[in-house]
């Protein structure tokens, strides 16, 4: 009966306690050497055997009960105290950041990587070629004979040399088509990123050094319809949304038929704006079906193979993606520009 009473008192005391000191007092009152529960244990030896077992058991249960209660209460009080402290604290979250040094990849590297990744996922091998080229690879092998007015389409930077062989800075990545097909039997799929050079005056939209990517797919029955599907898939992945494309007739000596590829203008969504000269379309690539002479010049029989090739400017793609208005920024080395990417 005595223990029942003790338990009642405990519950009352716990109810009242407000702080850690109070808890300590409760502990002392019941569980210290002279505490009420300890005294019950102390008195056990005076009881007869049967009673001793019963009381002992009950006392033990009460002791555990109290200990649990104290622990719980302690956590409760500590939490409350902590909260009270935190409530008094304050942080001005609008203070300036502590600068963490992070690096930046060039926007053209980012675009190039994305292009490579998308085409690699479609089974295209990434291939590179030299920037110093021979006249043969840059022009003749691509069905652009000397003295043909078509050569005027590419203003060329020539290297000064005493040798007979004329060297130049490649005006497009297309020479790699021939270089690759000379060494690799179709069917084949490649994507060729790299620098190209033009003898051209520069302004906000013209550069004399550019990054280009060339694509080539050759097989037994690779068609214009296949080209349309692949290029649309690429654009969809690159811009992250459905893109409309349109082919227009064009002329390149190394493709027949030739066409250029336009996509719906992303600035105005095809409604017409200054960026697309009010047409709603932006030209992004030149393309076409590989000319039989290019196969011949690569040592392949044009009767056996057909396929398409395309080329587009990575600078232009990057300008569209990041909405950059001046192409010359890419090679300006200006960290205020580069560290935005």
């Amino acid at each position: 009966m005595e223990l029942e009473k003790v338990k009642e008192n405990i519950l009352k005391d716990i109810e009242k306690v407000k702080d850690l000191k109070g808890l300590d007092e409760i502990y002392r009152k019941y569980l210290s050497q002279k505490g009420e529960i300890s005294l019950v244990f102390e008195n056990l030896k005076n009881l007869e055997r049967e009673k001793r077992i019963k009381v002992g058991k009950e006392a033990n249960e009460l002791k555990n009960f109290l200990e649990d209660l104290l622990t719980k209460k302690k956590i409760e009080i500590e939490d409350r105290i902590q909260r009270e402290i935190e409530e008094k604290e304050w942080l001005d979250i609008t203070l300036p950041v502590k600068k963490i040094e992070v690096g930046h990849l060039h926007p053209l590297t980012q675009v190039k990587k994305k292009v490579e990744d998308i085409f690699q996922a479609m089974g295209f091998e990434v291939v590179e070629g030299p920037e110093i080229e021979t006249e043969r690879y840059n022009f003749d092998a691509l069905n652009i004979p000397k003295e043909h007015p078509a050569r005027d389409m590419w203003d060329t930077l020539w290297l000064r040399s005493d040798n007979v062989q004329c060297l130049l800075l490649r005006t497009h990545t297309s020479p790699v088509q021939v270089r690759y097909m000379e060494k690799n039997q179709p069917p084949l799929r490649i994507i060729v990123p790299g620098n190209v050079y033009r003898h051209e005056a520069t302004d906000v939209s013209h550069e004399f050094q550019l990054c280009q990517a060339e694509g080539l797919m050759v097989g037994k029955d690779i068609s214009v319809a296949n080209f349309k599907a692949v290029i649309r898939e690429f654009l969809k992945n690159f811009f992250g949304k459905e893109i409309k494309i349109r082919l227009k007739p064009d002329f390149f000596p190394f493709t027949e038929p030739s066409f250029d590829v336009s996509m719906n203008c992303l600035v105005c969504d095809g409604k017409g704006c200054p960026a697309c000269k009010k047409s709603g379309w932006l030209e992004i690539a030149g393309a076409g079906m590989v000319h039989p002479n290019v196969f011949k010049n690569s040592g392949l029989n044009p009767k056996d193979w057909q396929g398409w090739a395309f080329g587009f400017g990575l600078d232009r793609l990057a300008m569209m993606k990041f909405k950059i208005g001046d192409i010359r920024l890419f090679r300006s080395g200006d960290l205020r520009f580069l560290q935005q990417f």
Partner: protein
């Protein structure tokens, strides 16, 4: 090239679509219309005609033919029949001699006498003006008019000014001179074709007429020329005297020799009608080998295979007919046809397939994914390693720059490059870009110079090609070059360590660079703060500080540390493989050791000695390095943590003590080294 909308309309009875709509149609099915402009009551369309279509489409008639084919409108060509004088024969009025058939495959001429020179009728002058040509007089204007209409350039000479009434088509003599209609004098050479009389040149063939036989107000009798010249000859000629004209533009793209005759007849007709002149009987026609239409066999199945769309054979037939191809035979498998001689651009099946495709409409070709075998592409490790390099450097806080592949002469000089090592551009866009860069360093130095006003700390890198001549061969190779401004040798050394570790390259080391006296004179590097990065005793790059002299030349304020690594060499040693090293179950123990060594001793010498003492030594860390007060003159102190750990058992203090003693013993074998006991 600009075209008059009203002029194009004159070829059709049916009304053409509105200018904007017509422009759209031409862009989609023929060539891009870049601009539409209203001029008076007319519109001009600026059409970007591609060079392959110049022979038949640098003319209103050509564009009209395209419109007719695209819209299926009937083309109307006005009748130019005229009556010749019966008694006066052309061949009695003028002699023609063509010296070389190759230079001039065809030359047609007519004589018109009793013309009255005066202004052109208004309608004609207006058409010329709309197309950007200045009216001169009726005869000259009509020749220009016919050129704009048919694409055939024509020329009119004053018959009475031609010496001995003889026209000779010949190469110019070297140094021969001609005064042209625009009062300029040109010195000619034997690569230029001229139209001459018995005395001297009357015109630069296909390029510009001369003063001598000019049509003027007093002109009564004229000779009309409508000829076909070799296109390369005209192209080279006009390049060599730097003179491009409406005529040379058309000749250098090539023209149909069969065009000269209808063009000259139309001109004669118009001149007779508008000047009252009389046309002498007969056409002078030098035409040694008539150009005949070419035959092409078109494989019908190939049309579908190449375009990826099935076009009904009737449609194919109709498209080809509308474009003026003459179908000779047709079966389900094959169409045999003749190509009109004006279509210089059509010679193979693929050319015909382009015609069918574009007129049918590229928008009608479906999107069809190719059917190919499902194989992953071959990996290009060069690209993989390049990306890895860029990513690692980015992660360490570097910003990537792209520079032009060129430098100017003074940069080359400042960096000590000799002319014979450099590749020069024959026709640079500017002297800023006269040489290909032999190193990435010069442009990176410029980056520092340009960014230093805005940035305290500069950490940049570039991966790109360099170009130079080595052993009289052209060398093009990829380099990785990076820099940190300030005294940052060890920061950059740490960067390289991390970079190489990520690339899986472990067997590299830094060696002192000992330049030859020749090299050190021109070196951009600080002579004592430079290391050669080596792999297998092969040099793969440099790490060092830039000399003050170089910094001054580039007006760079702070010190600069640069690494310059040959990417092609290191990529051979890169590996994707990483082998896991099992973690030891047993605890490691650390003991310290301090050594007093002469000032010029390298820490590596000490490390090498210690490392080899026992396999129980897992790692050695230099945690302190000191010289100065408290250390004897000429000496410095290294302090190391030696980390002990065994793979297979807990290491005992006895083992550690024994190894420590051995280390001391080994170090003190060098009489100048002294282990400092505490």
């Amino acid at each position: 090239m600009v075209f008059s909308y009203n002029w194009l309309q004159s070829f059709f009875k049916k009304n053409l679509p509105k200018p904007e709509r017509l422009a759209e149609i031409l862009t989609l099915y023929f060539a891009e219309v870049e601009e539409i402009k209203k001029v008076g009551k007319d519109f001009i369309l600026d059409i970007d005609i591609r060079p392959n279509r110049a022979p038949d489409c640098f003319s209103h008639l050509g564009i009209a033919r395209e419109i007719s084919a695209i819209l299926n409108y009937k083309l109307q060509i006005s009748d130019c029949k005229f009556i010749e004088e019966k008694k006066i024969k052309t061949k009695n009025l003028i002699d023609l001699e063509v010296k070389n058939v190759q230079d001039c495959p065809r030359y047609t001429a007519r004589v018109i006498f009793d013309v009255k020179i005066g202004p052109s009728p208004r309608w004609l002058a207006e058409r010329l003006e709309v197309c950007g040509l200045r009216p001169i007089n009726n005869v000259v204007d009509i020749t220009n008019y016919v050129m704009l209409e048919t694409g055939q350039p024509l020329h009119a000479f004053d018959l009475d000014k031609i010496s001995k009434r003889k026209i000779i088509v010949r190469r110019a003599k070297n140094g021969e001179k001609i005064s042209t209609l625009d009062e300029k004098e040109y010195e000619l050479n034997s690569d230029i074709l001229v139209i001459a009389d018995a005395v001297g040149p009357l015109a630069i063939a296909g390029i510009k007429g001369g003063k001598k036989a000019e049509i003027d107000r007093k002109t009564k009798n004229i000779v009309l020329e409508s000829a076909n010249f070799d296109r390369s000859l005209i192209r080279n000629g006009s390049n060599s005297i730097k003179l491009k004209t409406d005529a040379s533009l058309r000749f250098d793209h090539g023209l149909d020799p069969n065009l000269t005759e209808p063009a000259i007849n139309q001109t004669a007709f118009l001149i007779k009608k508008n000047t009252g002149g009389k046309i002498a009987k007969g056409l002078i026609d030098f035409y040694s080998k008539k150009t005949l239409p070419q035959k092409i066999k078109l494989d019908v199945a190939y049309v579908e295979r190449l375009l990826g769309v099935k076009i009904p054979q009737n449609r194919i037939k109709s498209i080809l007919k509308r474009l003026g191809f003459n179908i000779m035979s047709i079966s389900t498998r094959q169409i045999i046809l003749q190509v009109p001689t004006r279509r210089l651009d059509v010679s193979i099946q693929e050319d015909l397939i382009e015609e069918i495709g574009r007129i049918h409409g590229y928008d009608k070709i479906p999107f069809k994914s190719p059917v190919v075998s499902l194989i992953p592409p071959k990996k290009n490790f060069e690209i993989i390693w390049e990306d890895m390099v860029k990513n690692v450097l980015k992660e360490i806080g570097f910003t990537e720059v792209y520079n032009y592949s060129f430098i100017k002469e003074s940069d080359a000089k400042n960096l000590g490059y000799k002319k014979q090592e450099l590749i020069e551009i024959e026709n640079p866009t500017s002297l800023e870009f006269q040489y290909l860069r032999p190193s990435l360093i010069p442009n990176l130095l410029k980056n520092v110079q340009e960014n230093q006003p805005n940035f305290e700390k500069i950490k940049i890198f570039e991966v790109g090609k360099i170009f130079k001549i080595e052993d009289s061969k052209i060398l093009e190779k990829k380099m990785i070059t990076g820099l940190i401004n300030g005294d940052a040798f060890f920061d950059l050394k740490g960067v390289l360590d991390s970079l190489f570790q990520k690339l899986g390259i472990s067997q590299f080391f830094y060696d002192e660079f000992k330049p030859t006296p020749e090299e050190s004179k021109i070196s951009i590097w600080h002579p004592k703060k430079i290391a050669e990065i080596k792999f297998d005793s092969q040099e793969i790059g440099f790490l060092g500080q830039i000399s003050k002299r170089t910094l001054n030349k580039f007006e760079i304020k702070k010190d600069l540390t640069i690494f310059d690594v040959d990417f092609e060499k290191i990529q051979k040693y890169c590996t994707e493989e990483t082998l896991y090293q099992p973690l030891s179950k047993y605890p490691a123990a650390v003991r310290d050791i301090a050594v007093l060594v002469p000032r010029n001793t390298r820490v590596e010498e000490v490390l090498n000695k210690v490392e080899n003492v026992s396999p129980l030594i897992k790692d050695i860390d230099l945690f302190d390095f000191y010289e100065g007060e408290g250390i004897p003159e000429g000496k410095k102190n290294f302090a190391f943590h030696i980390i002990y750990q065994a793979k297979d058992h807990p290491i005992s203090s006895k083992e550690i003590e024994e190894t420590q003693s051995r280390i001391i013993e080994v170090l003190e074998k060098n009489p100048e080294w002294e282990v400092r006991k505490r």
